[in-house]
């Protein structure tokens, strides 16, 4: 029974990891960049929402809307102002650039918001404490279900966007061959900027839920990056459904690890991650370009 419970809790935790990993996977799929600032941008989004709540006193779920819009703009500007230049200099430079960006974002947050931990759990209200008892020993939390639902909705929405809309089609074409996409009239700069914008907004959404579910502090970014990275590697880089499955596997591995010993939660995730790297280096769902 406790194992079943751990799996159920792990799936809900995995929903959060899938959401966190979506943007990392999307940027990699479209541009072949591993964005090392992804975790820090997630935390920046969380602080942005926290700041709006702190200043206005509105519900965090309302504050999320402007935060997402701003973070989309941040991603868009980041691509045009920084990543685009670094992309021209080969594959290593974007890695260094985004690493530098992570350091800058983390320290800027530290400077502005102090090292205190913050949470949106209180202002978010009852949703953070509500739960449904399934049996005597198993209960599912409302926030866990909400995050899992949002993750599924974001991935489904992104799938629909890529598979069915003109903009999504241009994005897949650009991911496969940017030069040729230009030659048939696709503005590849705008496509890249949109992809980074969407990825940054989904990162902020994940950061927001981290703050609602638990706490964030300016130094939370790198840890979140590792979880997102593990989820993406387990699922397969560039594959959206792989990202969902990778997130769920990571979540379950962590809760099962915690079952052995509460200290082994992260270890459980790391072991699965290493096992996938060792035995199936390209992840469970191997993808070419951004796949749906």
């Amino acid at each position: 029974m406790t194992v079943l419970n751990a799996v159920i809790q792990g799936i809900m935790l995995g929903g959060f990891y899938a959401l966190l990993a979506t943007g990392l996977s999307l940027i990699f799929g479209v541009m072949r960049i591993i964005n090392l600032a992804h975790g820090s941008l997630a935390v920046l989004g969380a602080f942005l929402a926290w700041w709006v709540v702190d200043k206005t006193g509105i519900s965090p779920f309302l504050a999320l809307i402007p935060a997402l819009v701003v973070m989309f703009g941040v991603g868009y500007a980041l691509q045009l102002g920084m990543l685009e230049r670094s992309l021209r200099s080969g594959p290593l430079i974007p890695l260094l650039t985004t690493f530098g960006l992570a350091v800058v974002v983390d320290n800027a947050l530290l400077g502005v918001f102090t090292p205190d931990v913050r949470s949106l759990g209180g202002p978010a209200g009852k949703v953070t404490i509500a739960s449904w008892a399934i049996t005597d020993q198993i209960a599912v939390s409302a926030i866990g279900m909400l995050i899992l639902g949002v993750a599924a909705a974001v991935l489904l929405g992104l799938h629909f966007f890529l598979a069915r809309t003109g903009m999504g089609r241009s994005m897949r074409a650009t991911a496969q061959d940017p030069d040729t996409a230009e030659l048939v009239g696709v503005d590849s700069r705008a496509v890249y900027a949109r992809a980074v914008g969407i990825a940054t907004a989904t990162a902020a959404l994940a950061g927001f839920f981290l703050a609602v579910r638990a706490v964030v502090e300016p130094s939370s970014g790198p840890t979140q990056l590792i979880f997102a990275f593990e989820a993406v590697v387990i699922g397969g880089f560039g594959s959206l459904w792989g990202t969902l499955v990778g997130g769920l596997i990571l979540g379950v591995a962590q809760t099962l690890g915690a079952l052995v010993d509460p200290h082994y939660a992260n270890l459980g995730g790391h072991l699965v991650f290493l096992a996938v790297l060792a035995f199936r280096g390209r992840g469970i769902f191997e993808a070419r370009g951004v796949s749906t």
């Binding site: 061959d177 009239g185 503005d187």
Partner: protein, 244 residues
Amino acid sequence: MSLLSVEQLDVRHGLLKAVRDVSFSINEGEILALVGANGAGKTTLMRAIAGAHRPAGGRVVLDGRDVTHMSAHKRVRAGLALVPEGRRLFAELTVEENLLVAAASGRSGEWSVGTVMEAFPLLKPLRTKRAATLSGGEQQATAIGRALMTNPRVLLLDEVSLGLAPVAVETVYRSLQTLIEGRSTIVLVEQDLRRALRVAGRVICMLEGKIVLEGSTAELSIEEITEAYFGLKSRQQIGGGSGP
């Protein structure tokens, strides 16, 4: 006035001058064949006209508008479309999606998925197939259809028969005939000299990045072009001059 003119274009690959001081122009409804040996600079010239490669000097003028500093996608919107060498389809997209990507350029005109399928009937049953699964001839038809979807004013065709089976080349050219009769403006790079002369009204022969022969296909003999093609005569002796 000419629809497309290239003025003293210089294009480099690093230190290599792939295209040197090339000038020519093409009028509306004209078909121009660009011939020359491998490495003569034909593909580089085509890519520079389309905006995929920035020239080191000179100008590209489309319908009186200087497009030299425009990015490739903006040139597509202005009415220039290139069918690149090697076809370069989006392999993971279906045939229809390959066509629709190009429709996003927003130029209106007679070409749509429906009219492309009419012009290339072989594509009809392949609509939902991934481009990677197509044969060479089918891929070439898709690549030409994709360029047509942008409703170009000038169509640049680079090596449409390269690597195709003779039957497939026939099919592709039969479909091109529809375009040609529709008075499209086309610049064509073709290895097969006889075929190029049959289709085009005018021919330009390039050698080592320069134009060594230019003239109407009616006036030039295949021997004259072959000599220029291989650089057998010194440039002064060749009739037709070296560019306008």
